[in-house]
Symmetry: C3
Subunit: 124 residues, 3 copies
């Protein structure tokens, strides 16, 4: 059953999870980063991508107090994507972003693109 | 390969995005409407639908300060759906809704229906 | 067309909805439980599962003021899942959970697992 075994491999190994972060309310960054860590533990081989826009983009700045945690999660496989519209609107220069952060034209667009690739979506 | 080409066409042209709005916290309506505008720019031919329930329904009232922006987005293709349960509970009459707003029996039900049709879901 | 009729049956009867609750802001529990009730009315035969983590787990405690409503919804078919990581971190013992609550290793992991089974996701 080659089709079935391919599907299983995809589901477990290649199909990822995209996490939506657009708030910077009290404790939100700590909670989201902690949850991302648990997800990396549990999903092991699946790609996990954090997409930030609006106030959520702050977590991806070099100057953010959580930059060390963000870098640790990146070392464990987390992809980091910031919203280009937000960077333009908030006048954030690319060099202010933490190492490894990529920029998508829009945060919501990226979240839609991933879902169309079959990824799961969570918005903690 | 007619099946494959149909699938591609659907993914790009017909399969939409449903946006969930159920809060009216400070700045939420501005942020969501701005994000919807960016999404309409980026997705071009895909349907985009805003589903509001609870306090989020206020953005779809004629009397809302954002009614002009909502109407502009509708002119650009945005569909507007309000939760019927919320309208009943808050005693909002149909004529208080902005032009073009449709009413679903429940907001969550509509969000589920769209996902079952293959639409992506985002909750800014 | 056996494949198609199977797909239809699954979509209507077996494929569920997973609801994400990780906040305990003012009025959030009331709103989420009311929405879950409307969803159970509307979806009838689909499984509906509430997954709580972080501050959201409080709604699943025996001692919570909403415990009666939670139990009524459970009697109507709602599944209740609490995040094991949260229980460990908050030092909540299993016997503090309301009857019928199951524990997943992580809340986000459970939300991803359900989506990979084809379930819809809503985050009120």
């Amino acid at each position: 059953m080659p089709a079935m075994s391919t599907a299983t491999t995809r589901a477990e190994d290649e199909v990822g999870v995209v996490i939506h972060l657009d708030e910077d309310t009290s404790g939100k960054f700590e909670a989201v980063l902690r949850n991302v860590g648990h997800l990396l533990d549990e999903l092991d081989r699946s790609p996990v991508e954090l997409v930030a826009h609006g106030p959520g983009v702050a977590v991806m700045l070099r100057s953010n107090p959580h930059a060390g945690t963000v870098q640790d999660l990146r070392d464990r496989g987390l992809s980091l994507v910031a919203c280009g519209n937000t960077l333009a609107r908030m006048d954030i220069a690319p060099q202010e972003l933490a190492p490894g952060v990529s920029v998508a034209s829009s945060g919501l667009g990226q979240l839609v693109r991933r879902q169309r690739q079959g990824w799961s979506y969570v918005r903690p």
